[in-house]
Symmetry: C2
Subunit: 130 residues, 2 copies
DNA sequence: TTAAAAATGTTATATTATAACAAACGTTAC
DNA sequence: GTAACGTTTGTTATAATATAACATTTTTAA
């Protein structure tokens, strides 16, 4: 079941770290950062990550095995995600584009599959790195 | 440098297995399948996979850490990939839709990033599983 | 208040991927 | 031919990512 508002202690700790970060964070880097707070095992991180993803508070960047905070309040619980990723500095930016989102949400594959969710990752070189 | 036609021995072995498979294959499952052919180490698999991806012969399904053969002759060396993925049977189908591809290829994020590549993964339940 | 659900703590292990180095192979240039 | 170069291969070791399993505690709600 997906909670609406309340975060558990570990979930809040993990979310705080991800939200403060400037870029995507990896699970074990989160772990190292919270050992002072009494979290010692990967399981504790991965469980918090799973719940935070379910709640739409964070997203996983699949091509990087890393996690970012959701910046879109309207990002309906991770059903439709899009990111731009810089191949030079590793920066990740969540794309919030209504037209794009509508276009993809209404896209249905010919072979008869009705989609429930999508994830789109764009790659390039960001403005800073150019 | 990306080779045009010729595949090395290991590359051919790995490609054959992926092409014969009905669904996406994981690296270590490929490894177990080729040990009779004298390939013994993960490195040998991962090196072949890397080259095959560079050549556009296969694609990595990022959300599954698995690999599929490219079915589109026109899939310009993995610069623009889209897949439909069944969450029930794990089936993966490469989407070849010119309009979609054009739409996404011409999509540029507002913040000034010019994209070189994208990967899109749709999730749902396939016809068979419904 | 008690039963169920969710979250935690912990140890161990599975899975995915890369580092590092030496040897063999295949071109091409001379 | 053979030297020089880039690519592929073989191999051992290890790093990085993720889950299994089980006991306990906390929270929620009937
Ligand atoms: Zn979001
Ligand atoms: Zn950058
Ligand atoms: Zn393709
Ligand atoms: Zn299916």
């Amino acid at each position: 079941m997906v909670q609406a508002q309340t975060l558990s202690r570990n979930q809040q700790i993990v979310l705080d770290i991800i939200e403060k970060a400037k870029g995507p964070l990896k699970a074990y880097s989160i772990l190292f950062n919270v050992q002072k707070k009494g979290i010692n095992a990967p399981q504790q991180i991965y469980r918090a990550l799973d719940k935070l993803i379910e709640m739409g508070k964070i997203h996983k960047i699949e091509s990087k095995n890393a996690f970012v905070a959701c910046r879109n309040s309207d990002c309906e619980i991770s059903k439709a995600t899009a990111f731009s990723i810089c191949e030079s500095c590793e920066m990740v930016d969540e794309i919030s584009d209504v037209k794009l989102s509508k276009y993809l949400s209404s896209f249905n594959h010919k072979k008869g599959m009705k989609f429930k969710r999508f994830n789109l990752e764009f790659f390039g070189i960001c403005k800073k790195c150019k």
